[in-house]
């Protein structure tokens, strides 16, 4: 029974978790966290099982309500979806493991609702990934978006403003998607992705379809913060509560990128987006611009979370670039980068959260040597993640760039290759800035303490926060060494037909 119902289980686990959390959490506040954590762990187990099942047995198509696809809604758990669920739920599990103390500190009175909303956020994300229906996707996009706005809003003083702006922009994005979907529906008469993929090839040149595709791409581009549509992101990630940023940044935008992959490659067909309507080219050029823009802006930031936010814009550019290249290698690079960046960015945001918990702020110019002495493990994790972001082998970050560079060279897109490589150096600049302060700058103290490392009391965060951070750092290293395994076993099987 479990095997047959696999696709629907993961969103359901999160949905029921949110119900339980909000229902019982009202009376027993302490219950909220364990329930949320347990649900996520359960979902992670299911996701892993699903991945294993999909890889050994094959994709699962699930007919919700028992109605076969064009009539009812279809859930599809194929290798790509299974891989994404594992990544997303896995990262969420680690972030939630880390969250307890941060949430207790930052939102003492509202932890129940906060966990309920996080569960709903994950419901939305997992639903988006597994669904095979274009309209159902919209519904889940909205669930994820709404909870995303809320996760942003419970942050610093300015957070509601950032969240409101995010809401406006995000709603435009979702409405664009809906409008584009209307055009597609009017021409194809179907909402099922596989069905649309069969119908559309005959209609490719129609202006309606072209505009529909354009609107969907723009809509999802907004959600994934593709370059000129990124305006909402920096404020949102900066002012959000630390846990929220760690939850949103690594996986929120990635899911929009996933939708783009799904819709473009599985819904509209590879040939179409590559040759007939060169939307893939547009995406890749925008992404390239975004990589440079994000990196340059990140260099100018003084606040660590803000720096990481701009860096996210750059990193989502890699994913976009891989999608835009529309080749197997580019696809591998993009999907691998989703995983790698999820690991790196969540690790970095958790580091930022640890720093905030420990010293109360994360302003880069005020960092100094004492931070390293007080929080050696956190800073070690930071170093690993930063090296990976720069793309030093054998860290994970190197390999996604490697595949993207291979893809760029394969298609003689030298500009993209140059952008990918140059951004490594830009990353180096802004991470190095932090690094140099943390490791080399002497604290400004009244009576300078020299050679007394033992005297400085440790202000390292609690194990429940430290463990996820270090696990992620180790994960970065492990993914670097094992990337070929992931690529060969999973991502290659997920390559869309026709690519």
């Amino acid at each position: 029974m479990i095997q047959r119902n696999l696709p629907v289980l993961i969103p359901l686990v999160f949905l029921f978790a949110s119900l339980v959390v909000s229902g019982f959490g009202i009376w027993k506040r302490q219950l909220a966290y364990p329930v949320a954590l347990f649900a996520t762990a359960l979902a992670f187990g299911v996701a892993l099982f699903g991945l294993q099942h999909v890889l050994t047995v094959g994709s699962i198509s699930y007919r919700l309500g028992g109605w076969s696809p064009p009539i009812g809604i279809e859930y599809v758990l194929d290798p790509l979806a299974a891989f994404f669920t594992v990544v997303i739920v896995g990262i969420a599990l680690l972030v939630l493991l880390h969250a307890r103390i941060v949430v207790e500190r930052e939102l003492p009175e509202r932890s129940v609702a906060y966990y309920a909303v996080s569960m709903l956020f994950l419901t939305g994300l997992s639903g988006i990934i597994i669904t095979g229906d274009l309209f159902n996707l919209y519904v889940f996009v909205e669930i994820a978006s709404l909870s995303g706005y809320a996760l942003v809003a419970v942050g610093e003083k300015q957070a509601p403003v950032a969240a409101f702006r995010y809401l406006l922009v995000g709603t435009i994005g979702a409405s664009f998607y809906l409008l584009g979907l209307c055009f597609i529906y009017l021409e194809s008469g179907s909402l099922n992705m596989a069905d649309v993929a069969k119908i559309l090839p005959a209609l490719h040149s129609k202006p309606t379809v072209v505009v529909g595709v354009l609107l969907i791409v723009v809509g999802m581009g907004i959600k994934m913060a593709l370059f000129p549509m990124h305006g909402w992101l920096p404020d949102a990630y900066t002012y959000a509560a630390s846990t929220s940023s760690a939850l949103l940044a690594p996986i929120g935008t990635k899911v929009a990128a996933y939708v783009l992959v799904r819709v473009l490659f599985f819904g509209f067909g590879v040939e179409y987006v590559r040759t007939e309507l060169p939307i893939a080219d547009v995406i890749s050029w925008l992404s390239a611009a975004g990589i440079i823009f994000g990196s340059v802006m990140a260099m100018a930031q003084l606040e660590m979370k803000r720096m990481l936010a701009y860096s996210s814009i750059a990193q989502i550019g890699y994913v976009g670039l891989g999608i835009g290249l529309a080749s197997p290698l580019g696809f591998i690079g993009a999907v691998l980068h989703v995983l790698n960046h999820a690991l790196m960015k969540s690790c970095l945001f958790l580091v930022a959260a640890n720093v905030r918990t420990s010293i109360g702020h994360s302003t880069i110019p005020s960092f100094d040597d004492s931070l390293r002495r007080q929080m050696p493990w956190t800073m070690a994790a930071f170093s690993v993640a930063a090296l990976s972001m720069i793309g030093i082998p054998p860290m994970a970050g190197f390999f996604s760039k490697w595949y993207l560079a291979l893809a760029g060279i394969e298609q003689s897109q030298w500009v993209f290759v140059a952008v990918i490589l140059a951004s490594s150096l830009l990353n180096a600049v802004y991470f190095f800035r932090v690094w140099e302060r943390v490791y080399l700058r002497r604290p400004v103290e009244k009576h300078p303490v020299v050679h007394s490392e033992s005297r400085i009391e440790s202000r390292e965060v609690r194990p429940s926060m430290l463990v996820p951070t270090t696990v992620l750092a180790i994960g970065i290293l492990a993914m670097g060494l094992l990337n070929a395994l992931v690529v060969e076993l999973i991502i290659r099987k997920a390559i869309p037909p026709g690519l």
Binding site: L120, T123, D133, I143, L186, G189
Partner: protein, 98 residues
């Protein structure tokens, strides 16, 4: 900046007008969404709903049948959306005890 916004909005409108010019006439009973079979041969959902709603669910209101049966999962999502909104308002506006 204002000009830029105006241009954005106008180009958006122009794009939609261009797209709408390619749409079938409004009310055309033979428009793709209404067909019994799509050009790829798959079932046209809408026609199927009209023809089978009564026999499948014993309910004459087709919209209700689609809403709560054929595409009931959508509706579950929809209910979840509204539930989410409620919890969010609870989360955002509950006064913290100072």
């Amino acid at each position: 900046m204002r000009l830029f916004r105006l241009l954005t909005v106008l180009s958006f409108g122009a794009l939609l007008l261009y797209a709408a010019s390619g749409l079938p006439d409004r009310g055309d009973p033979d428009a793709p969404p209404h067909r019994v079979r799509s050009i790829a041969g798959s079932l046209g959902a809408a026609a199927y709903y009209i023809q089978h709603a009564q026999s499948d669910a014993n309910t004459p209101n087709i919209v209700t049948v689609i809403l709560a049966d054929y595409r009931s999962y959508d509706t579950l999502g929809e209910a979840t959306v509204i539930f989410t909104a409620g919890i969010i308002c609870f989360l955002l506006l509950k006064r913290q005890k100072v």
